[in-house]
């Protein structure tokens, strides 16, 4: 199979890469008469999807071009077509690979250098466009600069004046572009020991250094050098003039990034030297490692093997690069490119393959991450948390966290990790392994707190009803029986009772929910069954907004020692519509939860709630689109079936139910979208209130604003913006006019401005 032959070239083989390429070029040349379009398609696809093997395939194309000039021309045309398609459908990451491929084809004598320079001139001139988002200009600049490690030398040799001009245009663009977004994307707020640079800034430094080194680049494997004599003879093609497609409403450009660095040459004193942060080698290695992960993320063993067989093993500290790249992805803001658990498992596979060396690098990395927790973005701390518990992260040399205030990042982190460890095992085990001096950091025993449990509580209002309820539920009472027992509960809000049916009775809710949850405390399944069985009672008691809030409060009172239980109960209650998303948001920001506000589980719950809301909107939207499609198909069938316009009434009748359904779904979609918008507004509003309170208090008290709580809170706000940026962008006008107005404290407004800068 042609695809298999082409894909496998470059893999480990008994023969040299050069002879494999030579052989393959021969085979393909012979197949050209019969399989030309197939070969074109495959080669275009590998150019787009296997960028880690870029130079292998450009060499192959070079060899084919030398043997068959027309084929070379057709390939270049096909690539340009593919590039245009990619840009049209917002596939910018793949487009970069195509641009790089084309530029390396200059090295293979397939494309004439001046025409490549001309294309880059068109790219750079995008930075002169007016009224376009900065991210658009950024992409074209990135596509140009990031190709230079491969082709800078050749282009400079042929067209130095033009290249100088391009580079100075690049410099002036980079100087004038705004970088308000950067703080929002940095993993650490401190610049030492490794500055967290904006990606274009870093790349520019790397290219400048490359230029200073007279474009000498020694890391990239260039198989075409071995074929220089053959390739020199080939005729080159000129790239057709390439006009960047204009910016449209639908264009979505890649978000800016910050380059994550955690290692430098001091970290592996015994091994090969790690290329500096501004060396082009560093850039190429990182790009290629990221591409390998992107290609093989589904196959963890293959991915690990491919990473470890990256060429250059004895010249670069590969293990350090791999660990750094993996953490770069794990900590990427807004979200990692792949699911978090993949990285944990990938690290395990890597350690299995390199048991003598990789675990030590990982240990070094985790030690370093722990030491620098104080300045790490809260969202990223969450992510180490998730990874740490799987890697038995903790060693109890961490006495520094005992002397600190428990809200500080390190002790907080240790507490969260211990809690997560407990969730994966059990409480006694944690108590057993944690030394006595650290016991203040141990998680609470996850037992339920039942206020009516003890005889000594019999003076509590509702106590007798609780007892009654307990017996009734144990005797398998029905919902109606429960209602009648609850009728006896007095309403402390008696004065507010407007006398119409069920009003908000917090005591009723308290007695019912406490008792039921206590009876069902044995396991998640027991609690879920209880929620299902008495769903009707819950719905009635929680009918009002205050009712919903109070149910959540009582759940917290009962299960505050068991955050995992709270999370699953809240999830179930949303899914069974006992509470709604806005109620959960209000509950999270309520004063009762202030004590737990910075704990990880709270944010797990909030983000899970937002995700459920988002999925719900998408689901109904999908239903609507599907129903519309069904109606369209029905119309089409009818139109093609009978051209005679006979019984109009029957066609209406056919359409009727579907049209009704569409109308209903349309309403459902609108109401869901409005609920979704409301959820975000509530969240932002509450954040603003909370933060403003803190800022005012600090100002009047003359104390420093930047407490651990404040850092955590402001970063949580950033996290909301980042994690749900696509949806929130729909609300920009409302946010600007209603919530994030100029009167707001500048600390809070800055977050909003950073967010706006992300796609500006």
């Amino acid at each position: 199979r042609l695809e298999s032959l082409i894909c496998r070239v470059g893999e480990k083989s008994n023969s040299s890469l050069e002879s494999n390429l030579e052989g393959l070029a021969g085979v393909l040349e012979a197949d050209l008469p019969n399989y030309k379009s197939k070969i074109l398609r495959i080669l275009c696809t590998v150019a787009r999807l296997l960028p880690e093997k870029l130079t292998v395939y450009t060499t192959l194309v070079g060899l084919l071009n030398a043997r068959n000039y027309n084929f070379g021309g057709e390939f270049v045309e096909a690539m340009i077509r593919q590039l245009k398609e990619c840009l049209k459908v917002n596939m910018y990451n793949e487009a970069v690979h195509l641009v790089r491929f084309l530029s390396d084809l200059v090295n293979c004598h397939v494309i004439a250098a001046p025409s490549m320079v001309a294309m880059f001139e068109n790219f750079v001139s995008v930075t002169q466009e007016e009224d376009v988002p900065q991210v658009r200009c950024d992409w074209y600049m990135f596509a140009f600069l990031s190709s230079l490690p491969w082709v800078g030398k050749e282009l400079y040799e042929k067209k130095d004046a033009e290249m100088d001009r391009l580079l100075s245009q690049a410099e002036s663009y980079l100087k004038r572009r705004q970088k308000i977004h950067v703080p929002m994307l940095q993993v650490w707020t401190a610049d030492k020991p490794h500055p967290q640079e904006e990606y274009l800034d870093c790349l520019w430094s790397q290219i400048q250094k490359l230029k200073k080194d007279r474009w000498q680049e020694r890391h990239i494997l260039r198989p075409y050098l071995a074929f220089d004599s053959v390739l020199c003879e080939a005729l080159q093609h000129n790239l057709p003039p390439f006009t960047p497609p204009p910016h449209t409403e639908d264009s979505v450009y890649p978000m800016p990034r910050v380059i994550f660095r955690m290692f430098d040459y001091t970290d592996d004193p015994e091994g090969p030297v790690m290329p500096g942060s501004h060396s082009v080698e560093r850039f190429v290695i990182e790009e290629n490692l990221h591409c390998i992960i992107k290609s093989h993320w589904k196959e963890r063993k293959t991915c690990a093997a491919q990473l470890l067989s990256y060429p250059g093993n004895n010249k670069i500290p590969l293990n350090y690069h791999i660990v750094e790249v993996i953490f770069a992805e794990l900590f990427q803001l807004p979200s990692p490119p792949h699911i978090e658990v993949m990285y944990t498992t990938l690290l395990i596979e890597l350690c299995k393959l390199q048991p003598g060396s990789l675990p030590q690098v990982l240990a070094q990395a985790t030690e370093m991450l722990y030491m620098r927790l104080d300045t790490m973005n809260t969202t990223c701390v969450d992510r180490i948390n998730a990874f740490a518990k799987s890697h038995c992260f903790l060693s109890f040399d961490r006495s520094d966290c005992l002397t600190q205030d428990l809200e500080k990042p390190k002790p907080k982190f240790v507490r969260e990790v211990l809690e997560k460890c407990m969730r994966l095992s059990y409480h006694q085990r944690i108590i057993d392994i944690v030394p006595a001096s650290f016991s203040v950091l141990s998680p609470a025993n996850p037992v339920c707190i039942y206020k009516y449990g003890d005889e000594s509580n019999r003076s509590l209002p509702g106590y007798t009803v609780a007892l009654c309820l307990t017996i009734a539920i144990k005797n398998k009472a029905s919902n109606d029986e429960i209602f009648s027992i609850l009728k006896d509960v007095p309403n402390p809000n008696q004065d507010d009772d407007d006398g119409e049916g069920f009003t908000f009775n917090p005591l009723k809710i308290e007695v019912f929910v406490q008792t039921l949850l206590h009876l069902a405390a044995k396991s998640f399944s027991h609690s879920f069954s209880a929620l299902a069985k008495f769903h009707e009672v819950f719905k009635t008691l929680a009918e009002s907004d205050e009712g919903k809030l109070h149910v959540l409060r009582v759940v917290y009172e009962v299960w505050k020692n068991h955050p995992q239980m709270i999370a699953v109960l809240v999830d179930k209650m949303i899914r069974t519509q006992i509470v709604d998303c806005a109620a959960v948001a209000n509950w999270i920001f309520s004063s009762e939860l202030a004590h737990d506000f910075t704990r990880f589980y709270i944010w797990e719950i909030l983000h899970s709630t937002i995700r459920k809301m988002n999925k719900h909107v998408l689901k109904i939207h999908k239903e609507l689109e599907e129903t519309k499609a069904r109606l369209a198909r029905q119309h089409k069938r009818r139109d093609s079936d009978d051209d005679d316009d006979d019984d109009d009434r029957s066609t209406d009748r056919e359409d009727g139910p579907l049209e009704e359904q569409i109308e209903r779904l349309q309403e459902k979609v609108e109401s869901a979208q409005s609920e979704q918008k409301n959820l975000f507004l509530v969240i932002f509003q509450r954040f603003i209130m909370l933060l403003t309170e803190h800022l005012v208090r600090c100002e009047t008290g003359g104390i420093d604003v930047f407490t651990p709580w404040y850092k955590s809170c402001i970063e949580r706000l950033q996290q909301i913006f980042l994690q749900h940026h696509q949806i929130i962008q729909q609300y920009m006008v409302t946010l600007e006019n209603l919530l994030f107005t100029a009167e707001l404290d500048h600390h809070i407004l800055a977050v909003f401005q950073q967010f706006c800068a992300l796609q500006a």
């Binding site: 296997l50 589904k298 658990v341």
Partner: protein
């Protein structure tokens, strides 16, 4: 997309494929069974310790997505946990990620194994071994502290 598509080497997803195992108690044709397995959101999880709780499973498997339900496997006679369970997700993609990244990792210091399941039906939560637990615990010769010690046949000797 009018161009390219993808490459078969990049489509490879061996962890998420069906295994060779087919539940012999499945009511229906082989074809039906495989159709269900291919769209299932439910995973069978095996080699658990008898002491592993629903909560631990929820925490571990929650890493790949929102869990709809966990059903613990029970000894048919004793009605206690006997080392397996079912995990049902809301979305198949989440189940696939569990197959890719949670299968073959540790829980309670044991390497657990996941496999596609055609869907939970009442009765399937019970072990099918003669003594009430799983078949594998009937005949095994080794001592496994997390799974009741020696295999049942060995115990009866």
């Amino acid at each position: 997309m009018s161009f390219g598509g993808t490459l078969s080497i990049l489509r490879s997803d061996s962890y998420a494929e069906l295994s060779q195992y087919r539940d012999q108690h499945f009511r229906g044709t082989r074809y039906d069974q495989e159709r269900l397995l291919r769209k299932s959101c439910t995973l069978y999880v095996g080699n658990l310790s008898f002491y592993t709780t629903e909560e631990q499973i929820h925490e571990l498997f929650g890493k790949s997505g929102d869990i709809k339900k966990v059903i613990m496997g029970l000894d048919k006679v004793k009605k206690t946990a006997c080392g397996f369970c079912f995990v049902e997700y809301y979305a198949r993609g989440d189940a696939e990620n569990a197959m890719r990244y949670i299968n073959g990792t540790r829980l309670d210091d044991r390497i657990i194994r996941t496999d596609w399941d055609a869907g939970f039906k009442e009765g399937r939560q019970y072990g099918r071994g003669r003594s009430g637990g799983q078949v594998r615990d009937e005949y095994r010769q080794d001592y496994d502290a997390g799974r009741g010690g020696y295999g049942k046949t060995v115990q009866c000797q």
